[in-house]
């Protein structure tokens, strides 16, 4: 029986209170709360995390570097003004470059929000999503602890646990 796929949610992760919120991938889930739980299993099996956010994938307006060259690509919109989160990917050069949160912009549409963000920062790709659709974990100590500490305490989380292994030096285990 097909045609039963759950909606896809984009996942945004913040590693520490001072690090940027980054788009790290997506999960399928029945609702935003479920999406947060699945995101924790997929993206926070190992440290570190301070906050996780999700929003429906189809709610993201996405524009590439190529489309930015097109003058009609960011035509002004006439919707009600609301807050958007705008993300930018800064470079195509290295592997581990994610969409980083540039900030929160009051705009009449996602293209308008990106046009405002462009005044502040450069990028090779942009995403905008209405803030009202973003659901996240709270940044209280209690919530951060209960959501993310278990991954930090998890045994066998890093390869450095094993140090250098050679045929002569293996320890009893």
């Amino acid at each position: 029986m097909w045609g039963t796929e759950w909606p896809r949610y984009e996942v945004m992760k913040q590693d520490t209170p001072r690090s940027p919120v980054q788009m790290v991938g997506s999960v399928h889930a029945a609702d935003p709360e479920h999406a947060l739980l699945v995101a924790r299993h997929v993206f926070v099996r190992r440290p570190a995390a301070y906050a996780l956010f999700v929003a429906p994938a189809e709610a993201f307006f996405h524009i590439t570097q190529e489309a930015l060259k097109d003058p009609g690509g960011l035509s002004p919109e006439e919707g009600p003004e609301e807050a958007y989160w705008v993300f930018a990917k800064r470079s195509h050069r290295r592997s581990m470059v994610y969409g980083d949160l540039l900030g929160r912009f009051l705009a009449k549409g996602p293209a308008d929000a990106i046009a405002q963000a462009l005044l502040q920062g450069q990028g090779v790709a942009f995403w905008a999503v209405p803030e009202r659709l973003v659901v996240g974990t709270e940044s209280t100590e209690e919530v951060v602890e209960s959501w993310f500490a278990p991954a930090k305490e998890k045994t066998y989380r890093l390869q450095s646990y094993y140090g250098l292994i050679t045929a002569k030096g293996v320890e009893d285990a």
Partner: protein, 323 residues
């Protein structure tokens, strides 16, 4: 949803677009979802990434079988962490493939119906605990060689998934090596057990790198577009050069009478690989093919009520939020 662009040779601007695309790859830039790409680039990526995702998911089965039978609580915890990682790797990879416009549902359907391929290595049984160690050291060792190469891939989402996966695979590799070395210097029975596991997994592991370059029709295009950055034979050679000396140091003998060190090139040279067996297993005749797919189908079927319950719960939450 990604807006799919055309990218077929018959498109009027294909030549010009292709030249721009290849110039980007030559500059070492990463392609992102939404960028123009040849339809063939998209097709090859979907094929490779989804096969890779399926391999992670099917790969949970041979090792998962040993979780209840691990020889100590420490080994059980390690194996639990490892099998959980494989599930996560499948998720990263399915996500990367989805950015190219294919749905998760289409990919899962292709796996469960038997249309999609997954790594041949998982069609072999894990007969003893030593197999779990050998899988960690050699099978994951070969996987890492392949994946560090793919982490340089020109498609951003695949490359990012590979970087994360490699970091975790290195833990799998080390724990496998530790487990094998422990048995290799253990009792006579343990040494026999681990040599027997090596004998059974050696050739399937070498086959994991794929057919020889001369028999691999996709390789030249994949290299040209930066999807792969090394050939199958290069990856296999790197694996041999790293692992053969370590196996010999541990007193283990790879089951290849022709295996020799070539002073001139500094390479370990292997004897003829039994490709007939490889093709037989790929065509579904391996010892565990049927069993693996049945296990995945059963898991999908038996999980149906959980999916339905979560959906009903989600609908209710959304309705409540809307009130």
């Amino acid at each position: 949803m990604v807006r799919l662009r055309i990218g077929y040779p018959e498109d009027p601007d294909y030549g010009e677009r292709l030249a721009e695309f290849e110039a980007r790859i030559a500059r070492g830039e990463k392609l992102e979802p939404g960028d123009w790409m040849p339809a063939e680039y998209r097709r090859q990526l979907i094929r490779m990434i989804s096969q890779h995702a399926h391999s992670e998911w099917v790969g949970m089965l041979p090792e998962g079988a040993w979780i209840p039978r691990a020889p100590s609580i420490r080994r059980k915890l390690i194996l639990l962490a490892k099998v959980q990682d494989e599930a996560g790797h499948g998720q990263y990879l399915y996500h990367a493939a989805e950015t190219l416009g294919v749905t998760r549902e289409e990919m899962v359907e292709a796996l469960l119906s038997g249309r999609a391929k997954y790594s041949n290595i998982f069609n072999y049984p894990t007969l003893t605990w030593a197999d779990v160690g050998i899988i960690g050291w050699l099978v994951d060792g070969m996987a890492i060689k392949n994946q560090t190469m793919l982490a340089q891939c020109s498609y951003g989402p695949y490359s990012r998934a590979m970087v994360r996966i490699c970091a975790e695979e290195t833990f799998h590799h080390k724990q496998g090596k530790e487990a094998v070395l422990l048995y290799a210097k253990g009792s006579r029975k343990q040494r026999q057990m681990v040599q027997d596991a090596l004998n059974r997994w050696w050739w399937p592991t070498l086959m994991m790198a794929g057919p020889h370059d001369t028999d691999s029709p996709h390789t030249p295009l994949l290299l040209r577009w930066g999807i792969k950055t090394k050939t199958n034979d290069q990856v296999r050679q790197e694996f041999l050069n790293e692992h053969v000396p370590e196996l010999l140091d541990a007193g283990l003998i790879p089951p290849d009478p022709d295996l020799r060190y070539d002073e001139k090139t500094g390479n370990w040279i292997h004897g003829p690989i039994p490709w007939d067996e490889f093709w037989k297993v790929i065509q579904g005749e391996g010892p565990m093919n049927r069993h693996r797919l049945e296990a995945r189908r059963r898991a999908h079927e038996e999980g149906r009520w959980v999916r339905e319950a979560l959906e009903a719960h989600g609908r209710r939450r959304l309705a409540q939020a809307a009130d």
